[in-house]
């Protein structure tokens, strides 16, 4: 059997990193939009 464990681990780490980074990007973008909406609503109430 070929010794390919390093490639196996690398692939799983790379894929996991892409999924986590994309999920974080959604979280960050959503937080920014919601904060902007809240700021506009506060400004409109004044």
């Amino acid at each position: 059997m070929a010794q390919t464990a390093g490639y196996f681990h690398a692939a799983y780490i790379v894929a996991g990193t892409v999924y986590v980074l994309y999920t974080l990007s959604l979280v960050v973008r959503r937080r920014r939009v919601l904060q902007r909406i809240a700021a506009l609503q506060r400004g409109a109430e004044r």
Binding site: M1, A2, Q3, T4, A5, Y7, F8, A10, A11, Y12, V14, A15, V18, Y19, Y22, T23, L26, V27, R29, R30, R31, V33, L34, Q35, R36, I37, A38, L40, Q41, G43, A44
Partner: protein, 256 residues
Amino acid sequence: MTTPITGRDSAPRSAPAGSNPAATEAARGRPALIDGWIIAAALAVIAAYVRVIWFTPAEAIQGLAQKIYYLHLPAALNAYLAFGVVFVTSIVYLWLHEERADLVAEASAEVGLMFTTVVLLTGPIWAKPIWGTWWTWDARLTLTLFLWFIYAGYIVLRGAILEPSLRARYSAVLGILGALLIPFIHMSVYLFRTLHPMPIVLKPDRPSLPPEMLHTLMFSFAAFVLVYFALARARYRLGLERARLAGLEALLEGGR
């Protein structure tokens, strides 16, 4: 989905804070950033990883590198699924001018691009020990790279056009044309001389995988379908909130 689309090109309804979840979250400034679907998808992927690593035998010749398959194929199939949704919702948008269809297409295209990125990263990591090279200009690989560029272009296009109906129309056309590449990608191993392995699951006769490997593959595929659904849903909600923000900004601009 209770959050109304206020429209990028229309004024929002001035609903009081608390009348919908997004408004309440926005008013508090502390949104619920991770929802239950994303947590369920993450747990399913962890379970799939555990099954692949500890409960699935390694292939006799390739060794552990063969297990990259449980990551690579579900990502490819989910990219097909995501771009298939773009195809259908883009047609719905062009036909009915339904803004929600455009937002679903936008969400699905972005998640599909993420899956295609995983395909294009994990494929070469498998290819290096098995083929002896990270990349070759094989038909399957090259067409998949083209697919990535088309949907990267789709995302860039959406950011470049400010007029909402024009953006939705142009991106719907690109979304439909991009998805037409998928049958060619799937059939490329039959149509051209390629290095890429022939299908061993999605083929006319029975899958040629041992049952324990096939079950792991199906488990992994199901986990990543859940990932697709959870992330596309989250991205769709982001699109709705962006539309709401644009409506609010338009309303305030108009009031000055």
